[in-house]
């Protein structure tokens, strides 16, 4: 039998410890969400006497959770479409030499560091003026804008790693610029696009600032705004609040479980180039 070195055992123990610190709270959260509120308050850490899904049914019945989830999904979808289309077009154009290229490049880079939150008032005024206040379109549009610099960086970085001969060979065959993009460049940029999509979806699922600023009623509220408001409205009933949280986490968690390797791989396919 191979002898396992002590140092490896210690490292293993350390890794387990970190995993526990990160994940034990979630286990506790799941258990708490399955317990009635009274029991939770009287004995938060004891061995649970009752475990059932009542909190979930109640939350689902009292709050339009499905609506919130759909709204969040829609906002993310709008942002993804905006960003992917614009980034692919920009990335492709930037493969060519032209006069303003350096200046544009710098501007996109600066965009990465400007916190979008600083623009809350102009965005608020703008969205209100064009009649998208309190609609999921307004939220989606701003999400698209917020993620655009990063999206351009990743897709452009990815396109630059493609062999230039492809474009040259396309030109020789007499293909137009559009044909070269759609038939040759786009299929090879897929991994970069996947990275961007995953990043944007996760960012949108996380976003609270503009979701809070740009929505008013249930019809356009995203799940993060709903969860945040439970902190006050469900104050007296932690069981409900926990169940609502789990519901908000579930969609991304399920996707993660099924697509783990794609997500971990995809998240970083373009990110390391920097």
């Amino acid at each position: 039998m191979k002898r396992v070195k002590l140092s490896r055992i210690l490292i293993f123990a350390f890794l387990v410890l970190i995993a526990c610190i990160m994940l034990v709270p979630f286990v506790w959260l799941v258990i708490a969400s399955l317990r009635p509120n009274m029991e939770l308050l009287s004995n938060p850490f004891g061995i649970p006497e009752t475990l059932n899904l009542n909190n979930y049914f109640e939350v689902w019945r009292r709050q339009p959770m499905l609506r919130y989830l759909l709204n969040t999904f829609l906002a993310a979808l709008i942002a993804v479409v905006i960003d992917v289309v614009i980034s692919v077009m920009t990335g492709y154009a930037m493969l060519h030499r032209f006069r303003m290229r350096g200046k544009l490049s710098t501007m996109f880079y600066v965009g990465l560091f400007i916190p979008a939150n600083a623009f809350m008032v102009p965005y608020y005024v703008m969205i209100t003026k064009i009649g998208l206040y309190n609609t999921i379109w307004g939220v989606g549009l701003i999400y698209g804008v917020m993620n655009l610099p990063f999206s351009i960086m990743i897709i452009r970085g990815f396109m630059e790693t493609l062999p230039m001969q492809i474009i040259e060979s396309g030109k020789i065959d007499g293909a137009t610029a559009n044909q070269i993009l759609i038939r040759l460049v786009l299929p090879m940029t897929k991994p970069g696009i996947v990275t961007v999509c995953i990043f944007i979806v996760i960012n949108c699922w996380n976003e609270l600032f503009f979701a809070n600023l740009l929505t008013l009623s249930e019809s356009s509220r995203t799940i993060t705004v709903a969860i945040q408001s439970y902190l006050t409205s469900f104050e007296a009933n932690y069981g409900f609040a926990f169940a609502a949280m789990i519901i908000s986490i579930l969609p991304t968690l399920i996707v993660y479980i099924f697509l783990t390797n794609k997500i971990i791989g995809g998240m970083t396919a373009g990110a390391v180039k920097g």
């Binding site: 990160m22 994940l23 916190p115 655009l148 610029a177 609270l208 986490i249 997500i263």
Partner: protein
């Protein structure tokens, strides 16, 4: 490519840059010189807003807190991410499982994470105080989020801990290091931590830069953790720059003051950009 096509391809990005970046930039600069409650007409007040903000102790506190967040990112979050990446890189038993587990919190919204930690810190129902009592440290139990001494630290801890994405970015870079190089170092007699120190760490610089950029940008616009956990309190001790800007507009209706905060947030972003850019010099970016 024909000029006409180039214009066509660049138009959407340039349009967005002008409408959602340059115009708002001018707008916040302009409004910062006015007294405005969002409804009535704007009154020009010169530099009064700037003087008021600069003498506002809450603003200075928000600025300081944002810088502390950035320091925590660079000194705790990123090193922890690198450490985990290097340890997993040794292909310890179950490293793939660990990678999946560490990354898991990154797919959960910060609002939910912040909400969860709000309960961890809860005085009576919280996991943390219960744990402290369990191991006999009753004296240390605290109302973590309502105590001005611990609140800021408490809001930063979850961010410092969830390093999954940072780690994975490092690991991706580590996996691109050529086998030849590793073998050469091994032949030279490099052992475990020496490999880390002299071979791996110098070679992950691009990933380090990506991580610094992503995390600094995150801290600059960090709003969710303090907003959900403490609303910036107690007595503003956890307010960040983003939260200051938000409160001045939403709660106080002082749009001019809020925009001054925004101007400073933009300036801070530019300063940090220059710093990161300088560090990055020698990288492959143009």
């Amino acid at each position: 490519m024909k000029k006409r096509m180039l214009v066509f391809y660049l138009f959407p990005a340039v349009f967005c840059a002008v409408v959602f970046f340059i115009i708002p930039l001018i707008y916040i600069g302009y409004v910062s010189f006015f007294d405005w409650n969002g409804l009535n007409a704007m009154t020009p007040v010169g530099t009064a807003n700037y003087r008021q903000v600069l003498s506002d102790s809450n603003f200075r506190l928000a600025l300081k807190n944002t810088l502390i967040w950035i320091l925590a990112a660079v000194l705790i979050h990123i090193p922890l991410g690198l450490l985990l990446a290097l340890l997993l890189n040794r292909k310890i038993m179950g490293w793939k499982v660990f990678r999946i587990l560490y990354f898991l919190p990154n797919v959960i919204s910060i609002t939910a994470l912040a909400f969860l930690w709000y309960f961890i810190y809860h005085r009576d129902l919280g996991l943390l105080n219960w744990l402290l009592e369990l191991i006999g440290l009753d004296g240390l139990t605290n109302s973590w989020l309502t105590n001005t001494d611990t609140a800021l630290g408490a809001t930063i801890v979850p961010f410092s801990l969830y390093v999954g994405l940072t780690s994975v970015i490092f690991m991706t870079q580590l996996s691109t290091i050529s086998e030849d190089l590793k073998e050469a170092a091994l032949l030279d007699g490099a052992k475990g931590w020496q490999m880390d120190l002299y071979v791996y760490i110098p070679l992950v610089k691009p990933a380090l830069m990506t991580n610094i950029m992503l995390n600094v940008a995150f801290c600059l616009k960090n709003f969710e953790y303090p907003f959900v956990m403490t609303s910036g309190g107690p007595v503003n001790s956890t307010t960040t720059l983003a939260l200051y800007v938000y409160k001045k507009m939403m709660n106080a209706n002082q749009y001019g003051i809020s925009m001054v905060g925004s101007v400073f947030a933009v300036l801070l972003g530019l300063c940090l950009m220059v710093i990161v850019r300088t560090l990055q010099k020698g990288g492959q970016d143009e």
